[in-house]
Amino acid sequence: MSWSSRLPRLTRSRVIAGAVVLVLVAGLVGWAAWPESRDWTSEDQMITVPTGPGGSGSVSLDTRLYLPKDHDDKVPAVLLAHGFGGTKESVSDDAESLAGRGYAVLTWTAQGFGRSGGQIHLDSPDYEVRDAQGLLDWLAARKEIRTDATGDPRVGVVGGSYGGALALMLAAQDPRVDAIVPSITWNDLSNVFLQQSASTEATGVFKKGWAGVFFGNGGSDASSEALANPACGRFAADICAAYLQVATTGVPDQKTLDLLRKSSPAPVLSKIKAPTLLVQGEVDTLFPLSEADANAKGIAAAGTPVRVAWFTGGHDGGAGPQTDQDRVKFLTVQWLDHYVKGEGDKPSDSFTYSRVAGFSALDRGLVTNGYSTDAYPGLGGTGSTQISLQGSAQPIANPPNGNPGALSSLPGTGGRLSTLLAGVAADIPGQFAAFDSGPLPEAVDVAGAPAVRLRAASPTGEATLFVKLYDVDQQGAETLSAGLIAPVRLTGLPSSISEAEPVTVTLPAIVRQIDKGHSVRVVVATTDQAFLSPTEPATYTVAVEPALTLPTVVGEPIANPQTVWRYVLAGLLLAIALGLAVVLLMRRRRLRRQHTPTELEYADTPLVVKGLRKAYGDGFVAVEEISFTVERGQVVGLLGPNGAGKTTTLRVLMGLTMPTAGEALVFGHRLVPGSPVLSRVGALVEGPGFMPHMTGWENLQAYWKATGRPVEDAHFDEALAIAGLGDSVHRRTRKYSHGMRQRLAIAQAMLGLPELLVLDEPTDGLDPPQIAEMRRVLKRYATDGRAVLVSSHLLAEVEQTCTHAVVVNKGRIVASGPVEDIVGESPSVQIEVSDVPAASRVLSDLGVRSVTPDGPSGLIVDVNGTPRSEVIASLVRAGVDVDRVVPRRRLEDAFLALVGESSAGSGDR
């Protein structure tokens, strides 16, 4: 057997189906793999710009300019700055997106990073900011860039974190900047790294976790040539010295403070004239919302348009959920389009923010809802809720070197929103005091910086404390919103709590809904791993005043574009319902038509087969052309060798197969699959088919149930009598012998006493007495106007059972008619004699029509009306011994000849 014969044959429909699938798959893959058509071009080059105080030095910057592909005029520009530790590559996505919107985008690697030269000066006005001014000069000289005046390009500055502060400071230093979008950036580095949340003049607490991450990022550039100093990496000497100083002691000297102030937008905010969109992250322990708040206030004070947006993300939370990213992107583009490109309406002053609404199973991230208010409310909210806390003054211990330390956030791990919100917070027993509220009667939508008043006493007169606000659920599980805590460093404290003056502690601004029934817990702790706490052990006493102020904002929910899918779903369901209704209506109409006889002249004829032909899809012709009729009262035998096309004909009669040509009419109704007239036909085709897990009786019952006809019409008793299974009828059919199944199948075919019974090889598997009984049953069955069609490959079967016979071979009818006619005696007789020549002579004299020798001692004689007895008597009188006289039958002649010649070539039909 060759392998190719096992493959499915190629037919037209298979080729078409295969081609369609192939095209679909190819299209899908192509669609996914096809490179997006770029609507921009880019060029990389090193640009040398003046740098240092007075522009005395120069530095070579690694830049890339993106230009929109199809631009007729000069285009506005965007200077896109990267974050700390990044390069021009880290902002390529944003750059491509802006270039696609018709901006020339210049990205560059800040000095001290990547392939650019120079050192890290922390956005120093003399270095990084001056570099950017050089880039503005360069842009102004490019012929593609739109200019406001000679040397003044139309330009916006966009950047996050390190790049955000650069945008602010560049706008302050260079009036050529037309708009800026600084995000997740700082206002004052001295406040960022020496954070002080209490209303006191004392220096804050050193944020050692983040400072280390920052410093590590700048020093870890192994490829740089600046590795001469392993302690400082590519940091400029003054920055490095300042870091080492403050990281060692935790208390900055004046030089360090000056340096941090110089690298901050805070002192120069009033000079910013470029409209500013400030984007700040709600999950950001490095640059919390208060930094943007300070920037917003400073810039607005100078009369410059400022807009603020918060998103659920930041240095701890990453880019945030997709809805937030989309919103920030929309705001940015709107801002640039109006203030730089000069397109679109003036952006409104509305303030937008987002609040965690739940958990998205698909992105394994958080889902946020966006809200909007008409104006930026600041960190105090538009309203506030007072909550009273309980708890008396408690002593808490500061361990030496702040170890072990409480955990609130994991600086530098970035982007683990869900981790942070699931809460990594852990307090160390003995090191914290907790002050609880009762369960909240109503949910509170906190948006802003909560405030409490704290009293502390210390034997050393100083205390470093960390104040946190927990949301505590009914089970007592506490969540620290965004991992944000308020570090407090107090000086001049009394040693007794009773003498302590309260100070106001402003907790970090958060956006959170504290659910109804939850309570609020304010914790005052002595340590936190993100901050540097005093090395000397001490025990403080702390007390929190009962009043906790929670600022609230009631924002308008921003419509969620996802809700459109609900309408899609509703529309889909409606369309399916409509489609189904149409299909059902059409079907009902078609079914109704089937009830009228298609040919009235045959309305009383059980079966008329006319010119039936069946060719299969692979070209095999099972039935060439078959026509016959079954009248009432007839038992018609469909006789033919295996593969003659009998079963295929019967399959068409049962509506299992559609004929290629011709038709079969049952009581005048043309047969199509499911023709109602089939209910007047009982059938056994291709062997029995029963559910093996049911008994014979249950199978008959189940079959009759499926007809939907009344039980009394079934005539189960008659059917069971015919099956003759006795008690075995209550055994499962899987245990039946072949003969038992066959009898049960005949009984099933006779259920309801159908007017036409079609049986395919009914005696298959029956023993001789059962066959004899079956013949009687079938003959009797046809007597009262019913008809039976039996197929068989056994001549004797047809001869003894049927009134009429149809002989088929190779898909064609070779003989048909009443059995008496075609099975009845033929005029010829086979005679075996002792002396053939003598017998021939005698017979010729008798006047028979022909004498043909048949074997050594046989003769086939066409007696031509002469009685057989007379023929025999003549032979005997002539002294010829007669061994055997066999009457011949016409059908046998034909059938045996057919089988003999065809059995080699016939396939399984």
Binding site: F359, A361, I576, L678, E686, E698, A706, R709, Q748
Partner: protein
Amino acid sequence: MSVLSSPPSAGATGYRPSRTLPIWAEVRRQASRRRTQGALGFMVLLPLIVLVAFAFGGNGDDESEGSAFGSLVDLATSGGLNFALFCLAVSAGFLLVVVVALFCGDPVASEAGWGSLRYLLAIPVPRARLLAVKLIVALLYSLAALLTLTVTALIAGTIRYGWHPLGSSVAAEIPPGQGLLRILGVAGYLAVSMLIVAGIAFLLTVLTDAPLAAVGGAVMLWILSSILDQITALGGIRNILPTHYSDAWMGLLSTPAQVDDLVKGAIAAICYATVCWSLAFWRFTRKDVTS
């Protein structure tokens, strides 16, 4: 017209195409099968096995990666609602798929295999009706399996762990009454998302005579889709994978419930099921039944 001996209707007395193969008859045909009884029985057994496993398992110290699923394990013993949620969650990925594929991939192919399909068609049960009844009953059994699992888990979990709020690590606790609705919502979404399995399995059962091929094929396609869905490099194609939204029910655990992904998942499931079933009907009403 009284000369005509044939009845006014084309069929035998009492025969009405719309009365053939009543739904109840098909329910009984399937009910006596070991396969049906086994699958439904296992739905009762599974929560009990899980219950026993929790009882004997003690406090395992498996670190549960802080994922949403990890928290489901941690919280499974916190109350009947959480126990039911856990049982649904562990079944959603594979067990339910197999059970639904079994109920929907078997009915036509097994009748074809036994040879009884041709006798049903010769009754004649109209082909579209046969398929519709088979489909409806298969869906009813699938739904019964899901409900059996949910109800058993709810009852067993509540008896063992009590009637407590529905907890999760992603949102505030949900009070028991509302929590019950959420659990039913999860079960309902699982039912909708299983329509995809039902669709594929039912299409296959029409195309093949081997029940195993239909059931196995549907399960394998589901697994293939799950694997592809893990490959983020496929980008947008993942959104149209049948399994892409299979975890969206977790959105029901947060407060307020996140239904956007559920809606998209329902759209995907209904589209897949409609296409598969349409193809199945189109094919079955035209094909030559040769088995």
